[in-house]
Amino acid sequence: MPHIALPPGHAGIRSAMAFRPETARPLNDLVEVLLTGPNSLTRGERELIATYVSSLNCTHFCHSIHGAIAAAHLGGDEALVRQVKTDFTQAAISPKLKALLVIAGKVQKDGKLVTPADVEAARSLGATDIEIHDTVLIAAAFCMYNRYVDGLGTEQPDDEALYRERGRRVARDGYVAVSHEYLETPATH
């Protein structure tokens, strides 16, 4: 049961965004740039970072939906997404992405835990400054989205099929386009 009167019929962050379209717009714009904008990290890699941080924060809605979006980008490989959540060091992902997930995991706890050695490790595996920047910001942003979803006590369904279906749609259309489903005014501008 949500802590405030969120509009019924929407789950997770969608209910919070429908309640307050003024903040929904920049929240959607930010996730759109970070996770779907042009980037040398693939969309699948960026969604894995978002999924991993959401799983560390134990936010069911976010790690389920972003896990589903990641799987959709990665050819439907749900086992890989589960492996990243459980123990990314054993996952079939690049060493560079593993080094970026180390940084993301530290940012999830406290940005001050990131060391020059962590950054150097990522760089020696090919990470660029923008990739390191975006990893830090994706991890930081999901510490916001996760707390927003949990702190309002939003409904977080257990239905895997729902996340799978919606994940495919977000992977195909992006966040701003899909936000039209729950915002009366399109989040685009």
Partner: protein
Amino acid sequence: MPHIALPEGFPGISAGLTYRPETAKPMRELAHVLLHDANSLTPGERELIATYVSSQNNCHFCQASHGAAAACHLDDASVVEKVKADFLSAPVSDKLKALLTIAGKVQQDGKLVTASDVEAARKLGATDVEIHDTVLIAAAFCMFNRYVDGLGTWQPQDQDMYAQMGKHLAEEGYTAPSIRQPLQTA
């Protein structure tokens, strides 16, 4: 020393925002709606929530700059120090204390907020939008703080710089940069 090649002379978040304008735009807009736009919580109250969360996250740049913005709105720097030290004994309204309790829980983990925390705030006059905005301000500063710290940005100790920045933030809000030119880093 920043972890990546951020523009020199830009303190704290202004370095990250200058480095990556594509993400800066929605981040600035979010801060502006939350802290500056019309709201039944005053800008001073909202800046106090931002300052308190930044202080719980031990982020020097954010607590100093938002503390300065709060002091400017409230024309009182001592209340900012009292909120950071122990908000329960600070000279702020009971409603704001109840909202700061919620913000402090969101800072740790959103799941810690209980129905009775929310009921307590509501009984003291908090509206649903005020509770929503408190949760989102606290959550957003868990992002801003981690962004500033996670990039290893330059976080000066110069109080005058924060006072000037606070004045800009209080008067102009967040859509236009408060730091337009690089500062002397020496």
